[in-house]
Amino acid sequence: MNPTDCSNRIAEEAGRLLTEGTVDVVIGFEKGSLPMRSTPCFVRTPQDSGKLVWNSFCSSNLSRYLKQFPGKVGIVAKGCDTRALVELIKEKQVNRESLVVIGVPCRGMIDGAGVLERCDGKRVSDVEERDDELVITGDSFRITLARGDFLHPACRVCFTGNPVLFDVLIGEKVQEQARDCYHDVSDFESRSPGDRWAYIMSEMDRCIRCYACRNACPLCYCGECFADATRPQWVGRGATGTDTLAFHVMRSMHLAGRCVECGACRAACPTKVDIRTLNRKISSDIARLFDYRPGLRIDQPAPLSSFKPDDSEEFILER
């Protein structure tokens, strides 16, 4: 389904829900103020539902906003958004009955910054999506690019483009990719510890501790984050290499078995720090050791709040 039809269907659906009073607000996307950007919006009247759009630039995870709306809420959600929803419901943060999920099958979201770089700084006036191509027109230039080359890293390995949970589905389901086997993690681990440490520390060096990764993450909803606590103060608050690494390691541990790999953290990061390698290492271990993938089934207990007598002991100091 092309973006325009998709947008219209979503707008109709939202209009219907608001007119019937089934929901008080619909959380979705509207056209952004910059090319290749869609921005979250909160529609409360049927007349406003016309501004809802859907295209390949809706990379924010809208589940992040659910806790801001206590009443009955409609939410436009792609695959990874619904996986975050499953975890939020499992953790009793969101009540399924007060939700109407408008599911939208997703073929992966595009990182506009990458496209802009390919236009080497020239201004872009219009972007048209045609199946697997992007037609970019700007002042005195027009180029066609392959969509697949500009997907967000998380979307390249995504196997849940279709919503795992929805009340209404917009358009047909997409062809899913094969289940992700974390080749990037095993490749990274084949490098020497010293080499890995150097890479990680050079990435951490770019982190400015702005916490966009934490604040964009749907599953980072603590009232006071450990990073801001002072009694005790677990993590140094300066952007020195070791304290930054400690923050990201601890945040990843807090997301162990919960992170649905929507990539919203990396998409939000202004200096594009590769924090996903930490979360993906844990996700790969959880898949391997506990045969669990976050955000797929509400009834499946979270791995760190359950156990099996014969869990792996590969890490134990040998006898």
Binding site: R196, W234, T240, V249, M253, F307, I316
Partner: protein, 146 residues
């Protein structure tokens, strides 16, 4: 980095669960078993109580190695404390090594109240491993800038 470090004594933080490993350490002491004086024991109710914060904080404050020891799975005084700890440590150890922390800085083991000998043996082996690595400097807090 020569591995001998001429008599440098590593400082290792040992989180011992009160019901098994701490009792095992006690047994080693009562039995006059010799083991290096490199460890600083912190007693905790259960290995399940250990949070990754403790381990990272220990390194940040200058520890050269961290050992976490609890009851053998099935013996936990709180039934499932070490079971959930086991999953948490499996992930944490994997993650720390993934980012490139030197092998041999973090150790997890199960020592029961009757295994005084094993306790002394583990402390000896962990100390040798850490001594071989030399002072830790990866996760230590670097406070000020010029």
């Amino acid at each position: 980095m020569d591995s001998s470090h001429d008599g440098w004594e590593p400082r290792i933080i040992a989180f011992l669960c009160n019901w098994c490993s701490y009792a095992g350490a006690d047994l080693a002491g009562v039995g006059r078993l010799q083991y290096p004086a490199s460890i600083r024991i912190i007693r905790v109710p259960c290995s399940g109580r250990i949070s990754p914060f403790f381990i990272l904080s220990a390194f940040r404050k200058g520890a050269d190695g961290v050992l976490v020891s609890g009851c053998h799975p099935g013996d936990c005084h709180y039934i499932s404390g070490n079971y959930s700890a086991r999953r948490k440590f499996a992930l944490l150890k994997g993650l720390l090594e993934h980012v490139g922390l030197e092998e041999g800085r973090v150790h997890f083991t199960w020592i029961s109240a009757s295994e005084g000998g094993k306790f002394a043996d583990v402390i000896g082996r962990v100390t040798e491993t850490v001594r071989g690595l030399g002072p830790a400097n990866q996760l230590v807090g670097k406070q000020w800038r010029a």
